[in-house]
């Protein structure tokens, strides 16, 4: 099964597809948690790109792409914690997680 000239192109296309799915989810869903899930999908697609480039580019022993991906995972974990904390806080205040109904700056 060799559709592409290089294996790297396959990984890049899968990452692009996953990124587009995450972007569509973040832009179209009404629930705030689903928007966060879409953002997580986009971050993971970027991580897949980093690891794939690390694997197939010259000098993988320099570990640059791998370190980038590991730090990206750590930052994404922090982002998820703060984002979900914000959603819970907003839900307690506005009694909804529906983004279409959150149309006021002042509670």
């Amino acid at each position: 099964m060799t559709v592409f000239a290089t294996p790297l192109a396959g990984y890049l296309l899968v990452a692009a597809l996953l990124f587009a799915i995450g972007l569509a989810g973040a832009l179209t869903r009404r629930n705030a948690i689903l928007v966060l899930i879409g953002i997580e999908l986009m971050l993971n697609a970027a991580n897949l790109n980093l690891i794939a480039f690390w694997r197939y580019m010259p000098h993988p022993e320099a570990l640059t792409g791998m370190m980038f991906a590991i730090f990206s995972i750590a930052v994404a974990a922090a982002e998820a914690a703060v984002g979900l904390g914000l959603v819970i806080s907003i839900h307690r205040h506005a009694k909804t997680a529906d983004l279409d109904e959150m149309n006021r700056m002042k509670g």
Binding site: G10, F19, R29, W54, P58, A77, L86
Partner: protein
């Protein structure tokens, strides 16, 4: 380009579609776990064992649980009464996402000839990763440690029940 790669990619993309499209939020969280696991297996397929297991520990072990907790805590809003689960401007969002995918896919297919071919399997041990983290990457490591501490305290403060709040 092995059969395993296509299988893992299909599972990951199908999980992503399910996570974005399903109506029930708990099902979405489960599909998200499938995506994270599929990506971790793809990392293993790319000979990045450390990143793969870090992905399982952080995403499958922590972020997925966090998402489930958030869904259950905001459960009252799970099913909107009117107009389905998609926003009023879903058409614009879909068009933007399709355009982004078209541009990314076009770029990858255009530059395919210039991409490097199959290279030797990199032999990276955990000891080398640890040495790199403690040597060349020690400043980013410390900054990430600070960031995680700040994020943890911030998340607790933001989500903390306010005193005197009658809700």
């Amino acid at each position: 380009m092995s059969f395993v790669f296509w299988l893992l990619s299909a599972i990951t993309v199908a999980g992503g579609l399910a996570a974005v499209l399903l109506k029930n939020l708990v099902h979405c969280a489960l599909a998200l776990t499938v995506v994270f696991t599929g990506l971790a297996l793809l990392f293993l397929q790319l000979d990045a064992q450390f990143a793969g297991f870090a992905q399982i520990l952080v995403y499958v072990g922590a972020v997925a649980i966090l998402v489930v907790f958030a869904i259950l805590l905001t459960r009252s809003s799970e099913t909107p009464k009117d107009g389905g689960v998609f926003s009023r401007t879903w058409m614009a969002g879909l068009v933007i996402a399709a355009a982004v995918f078209a541009v990314l896919g076009w770029a990858v297919l255009q530059s395919e000839a210039g991409l490097p071919h199959e290279t030797a399997v990199p032999n990276v041990t955990v000891q080398e990763i640890g040495n790199a983290l403690m040597g060349r990457y020690v400043l980013p490591l410390e900054i990430v440690a600070l960031l995680l501490t700040a994020a943890m305290i911030g998340a607790v403060i933001v989500a903390m029940h306010e005193k005197g709040d009658a809700k």
